[in-house]
């Protein structure tokens, strides 16, 4: 089935969302947060080992991955949770949907506009930090750093998509924010602990070949694996990620899985949003 989509309303909605975030300095603020955190972590990341200062790119990226895995999903969820439910609660959604625009177009426009804002922040923030790092560590470090930035962006876009799904399904803003925070806890903190717990409790009694598949069900894990498998030096520090068979650790496969993680929540949101308007 081909769903007819017109681009003009999508671009208009996306433009408004994007410029709203530029005007209220959201993009600037988040870019600064990323840049400052990245530089601080790059410099002080090895403080536990008794040294400070810029080290190799591998170790730096490993530290940055830990930062991004907490920060980016949270920022993306906060950016997106209010999008639909907020307009519904204030009453502006009704007027929007009375115009020649379909729910799908509205949703896509919202997503693209917010994704644009998040992309600007991520690229500007980590880009700025990256320039400083590469100036210190030399040009050889560019490729892994660009890879890290790309995957950080993908991670943000995944959680933005999840946020829009939450925003479409939730009955009110309070619920939406609660669900968003709960999802952050689950994916970022609980999921890995749960897997490790099962791993330890099972004491090798079960066939654990399905375990790598479980990692695909958490975009935060995908992001971690995507970054550390390229980094020989740091792979040994990570428990869970090292059970990943090399065949499943292909960057293309992992990136593809993350793209699916962007498409799936948005698709569900579009499907539910249509019927959501009808049963209102």
């Amino acid at each position: 089935m081909i769903i007819p989509v017109e681009w003009t309303p999508i671009v208009v909605i996306a433009g408004k969302e994007f410029w709203d975030r530029i005007r209220n300095r959201w993009v600037l603020a988040i870019a600064l947060v990323f840049a400052v955190f990245a530089l601080v972590i790059a410099y002080f990341g090895a403080a536990q080992q008794g040294t400070v200062g810029f080290r190799g790119m591998d170790v730096t990226i490993a530290s940055l991955v830990s930062l991004v895995i907490y920060l980016t999903p949270l920022i993306a969820l906060i950016l997106g949770y209010d999008t639909i439910v907020g307009e519904r609660e204030r009453g502006s959604l009704e007027l929007l949907l009375s115009l020649p625009i379909t729910p799908l177009e509205l949703l896509l426009g919202k997503y693209l506009g917010l994704a644009g804002a998040l992309t600007c922040s991520t690229l500007a923030g980590f880009g700025l930090a990256g320039i400083a790092l590469i100036w210190k560590l030399g040009g050889k470090a560019i490729a892994p750093y660009v890879g890290f930035m790309g995957s950080a962006l993908l991670l943000g876009l995944v959680f933005l998509s999840i946020a829009l799904l939450v925003s479409t399904l939730a009955r009110d803003r309070v619920r939406a924010s609660g669900i968003a925070i709960a999802l952050w806890f689950f994916y970022v903190l609980v999921y890995d602990l749960l897997l490790l717990g099962i791993l330890v409790l099972s004491e090798s009694r079960f066939n654990l070949s399905f375990f790598p598949i479980l990692l695909f069900l958490n975009p935060a894990d995908l992001f971690r694996i995507l970054n550390i498998f390229g980094l020989e030096e740091v792979r040994k520090f990570y428990g869970l990620a090292t059970i990943m068979p090399a065949g499943l650790a292909s960057p293309w496969l992992l990136s593809g899985a993350m793209v699916l993680w962007i498409i799936a929540p948005l698709s569900i949101a579009a499907w539910r949003f249509k019927s959501g308007v009808k049963s209102e």
């Binding site: 007819p4 003009t8 309303p9 208009v12 909605i13 408004k16 709203d20 005007r23 209220n24 307009e87 204030r90 009453g91 502006s92 009704e94 007027l95 929007l96 949907l97 009375s98 115009l99 020649p100 625009i101 379909t102 308007v277 009808k278 209102e280």
Partner: protein, 311 residues
């Protein structure tokens, strides 16, 4: 738009109902509105007016029944084209506080595919020219309502749905609002508006429907509604002192007339049909009646009459 627009009925509703669980928000509405008509929807809050508007806009599918706007069913991809010719002002209007009036209007213009160059003149027309570059956050209720109305007028719609449009407007604003509606009507624009303020709408609409608990209780021109309900006329008389008994005797044979005395003031109520009979009796008493007013039932009476009759 399709050729169907030229057909006389812009809106056709057949046995339309909308249930929310056990609540019958709209319950079997049949209604046609003709091109160029200024149509009023009257009812208390919760009578089903807003639900009716949402169904006409295709925002809510009816539980049963059929709705056609400009000959098209009010849903699906074909309806998008029809929607371009519809302007809508919702009852609870929410705008974006972080945009200026002009930016708000231009945003909606682009979504509707209307020319952005028309935004500034439209704001001027609605008396918001000076506030065009101010944030909507600082707008008063009346200014927001004007901006919402401007939004509905974008793209020269052929059909306007205005849900409680004069909400928050001052008397001057209300006059200007109807002035604009009349201009639009002369251009052949069809307008459906709702209100619970009857005095305001009474002299201004061509036809109206009285809604109550999801049903249309009465439909027609103000005149037709009055005739249909046959509300009594009210003769208000100022009598000379001591003339009350004379009046009582004169009216004794007219069983359909009721007399109510309040000092020197007397009220005689009678069915419309007996108007001339009563007038003749009263004329004969011209020595004792100093003054006489005949009060026709207003739409307010009609409205209350229907509400009472239904209870």
């Amino acid at each position: 738009m399709s050729n169907n627009v030229i057909s006389n009925n812009v809106i056709e509703m057949r046995d339309v109902a909308k249930y929310f669980g056990d609540t019958r928000a709209v319950d079997g509405v049949d209604l046609t509105v003709q091109t160029g008509e200024l149509f009023g929807l009257i009812g208390h809050n919760g009578a089903g007016k807003t639900t009716l508007f949402k169904m006409l806009l295709g925002l809510l599918p009816p539980t049963r029944g059929e709705i056609r706007i400009a000959g098209q069913p009010a849903h699906g991809e074909a309806f998008r084209q029809v929607r371009r010719g519809i302007g809508y002002l919702p009852e609870s209007l929410a705008l974006y506080d972080n945009l200026s009036g002009l930016e708000t209007l231009c945003f909606f213009a682009r979504l509707k595919g209307a020319d952005s160059a028309t935004c500034k003149p439209l704001l001027n027309k609605l008396g918001l020219g000076d506030a065009a570059h101010r944030w909507v956050r600082g707008y008063s209720k009346g200014m927001r309502q004007r901006l919402g109305f401007a939004q509905a007028l974008l793209g020269s719609p052929r059909l306007l749905f205005l849900d409680e449009p004069t909400n928050g407007l001052d008397p001057q604003g209300i006059r200007e609002f109807y002035q604009i509606l009349r201009e639009l009507q002369q251009q052949g624009v069809t307008v459906v508006l709702s209100s619970h303020i009857l005095a305001e709408i009474q002299l201004r609409v061509d036809r109206l429907a009285l809604m109550r608990t999801g049903k249309i209780q009465a439909l027609g021109t103000v005149h037709e509604l009055r005739e249909a309900l046959n509300l009594p006329l009210d003769f208000q008389l100022t009598l000379r002192p001591g003339a009350a008994t004379l009046l009582q005797q004169a009216l004794a044979k007219q069983l359909s007339a009721t007399l109510q005395l309040d000092g020197e003031i007397a009220h005689v109520r009678c069915p419309r049909l007996h108007k001339m009979v009563i007038l003749r009796i009263l004329t004969a008493l011209n020595d004792v009646i100093m003054d006489l007013h005949i009060r026709e039932p207003s739409l307010e009476d009609v409205f209350l009459g229907y509400s009472d009759a239904a209870q």
